[in-house]
């Protein structure tokens, strides 16, 4: 039976873990040469390690990967979406913004169902039709919502028609731009364009002010 101090066995293990200092290694080697019991102990340890390491590397069954893949939870669309949302907060924010913006635009479009037009001294209204009578000259822009415009005289400004038709009499002239908006999409586009224009005007007036 081994009667050597525990320290020797401890050194053996440190040696096997490759953590024994050089001095201690010398000490251990010297002791092993002198003490047979310790030599046997050390030899047994090394043999044990060799045995354990000799166990052959076994391979996973051939269909292993396939069965793992079959058992994986199917990517739920919801999970995928949530992960996507988490990863792209900017896109989500932009989408929400766009949704709300377009929502409010559609409401304004739907709200504007009733007949409306820019008031001007020289125009006549007949039912849902705005008439610029013959010989009259309208100096400013005309905007007509949900109504028609009949031009018999002259319009010097721009004309914008939303959900309406434009009739031109033979003598009628429009000097400015003409814009007719019938559909929701165009209405949206018009809104965006005009808000940009307003922005542009604002910037320009700012520049002028400076």
């Amino acid at each position: 039976m081994n009667t050597c101090p525990d320290k020797v066995v401890h050194m053996m293990h440190d040696y096997l873990d490759e953590e024994l200092s050089q001095e201690n290694e010398k000490e251990l080697k010297q002791h092993l040469q002198e003490c047979e019991a310790c030599r046997t102990h050390f030899h047994e340890l090394k043999r044990t390690i060799a045995f354990v390491q000799s166990t052959s590397h076994i391979q996973a069954p051939s269909n292993f990967t396939k069965s793992v893949m079959n058992k994986l939870p199917k990517e739920k669309k919801k999970v995928g979406m949530e992960r996507w949302f988490k990863k792209h907060p900017m896109i989500v924010a932009a989408a929400v913004f766009f949704l709300l913006m377009s929502g409010s635009l559609f409401t304004t479009w739907n709200d504007g169902k009733e007949f409306a037009f820019t008031k001007s001294e020289n125009i006549v209204v007949d039912g849902q039709t705005v008439i610029v009578p013959q010989g009259e000259i309208v100096e400013e822009d005309i905007v007509v919502h949900n109504g028609d415009l009949r031009v018999e005289g002259e319009v010097k400004g721009d004309v914008t028609l939303i959900n309406g038709k434009r009739y031109m009499a033979g003598a009628g002239t429009i000097t400015g731009d003409i814009e007719e908006i019938d559909q929701a999409f165009e209405w949206l586009w018009y809104n965006i364009k005009s808000s940009f224009q307003e922005l542009g005007d604002l910037v320009q007036s700012d520049e002028k002010n400076e």
Binding site: V9, H10, H13, L16, D17, E19, H41, E44, L45, R47, T48, I49, F51, V52, Q53, S54, T55, S56, H57, I58, Q59, A60, P61, F64, T65, S67, V68, M69, K71, L72, P73, E75, G80, R83
Partner: protein
């Protein structure tokens, strides 16, 4: 290797399940082997190894991409095996001696599909003896011995995998080695 794995993990995170297949393919043998040495049973080892890969997949978003994937994967696998060992009620082992007989194990009572070549028998017997001795080690020594000598991992990596202080890992390896030495000295 690690670079490829990182690339594949990023693809998995984007929802590409096929990329995970490649990860499984690369690690299946190692993970299966660890499980086998821990549990000493091929069937259970396959179950646990598969479970480890499934858990790794479902928790892949928790994996810190800057760390070593294999360490993380081994950790899942060894924890599963340790849980399994702890929960396991004593049941029948194929290589347990049948009561009332001497040296007769269940293996000898089960017909094998294909007879083993004679020359392999001896090494097979030695292998199964070693495996049996590893299986009788307490689970805390078994896991460190398996990771150190069968997977050849460093002490530091083992301490990461098992989430134990380095000193504890060393002590367990020492004790595990001593226990195995006593069991295998007669071979």
């Amino acid at each position: 290797m690690e670079l490829i794995i990182k690339k594949r993990i990023k693809q998995v995170l984007k929802g590409d399940q096929n990329a995970y297949g490649e990860i499984v393919e690369l690690y299946k043998d190692k993970v299966y082997h660890v499980c086998y040495r821990m549990l000493g049973n091929r069937h259970e080892a396959e179950d646990m190894a598969q479970e480890a890969f499934i858990r790794a997949y479902t928790n892949i978003h928790k994996f810190d991409i800057d760390r070593k994937f294999s360490t993380w994967l081994y950790r899942i696998a060894t924890n599963l095996c340790i849980d399994r060992i702890r929960k396991k009620k004593p049941d029948y082992y194929l290589d347990a001696e049948v009561s009332g007989t001497e040296g007769l194990t269940m293996y000898s009572q089960i017909q094998t599909d294909e007879p083993l070549p004679e020359e392999e028998v001896e090494s097979m017997e030695l292998q199964s003896t070693i495996q049996k001795e590893i299986s009788t080690l307490p689970e805390k020594y078994r896991s460190v011995i398996v990771l150190k000598y069968i997977e050849e991992l460093s002490l530091k990596e083992i301490s990461d995998i098992l989430d134990l202080p380095l000193g504890t890992v060393k002590t367990r390896i020492h004790r595990g080695r001593e226990a195995l030495r006593k069991q295998l000295r007669t071979l």
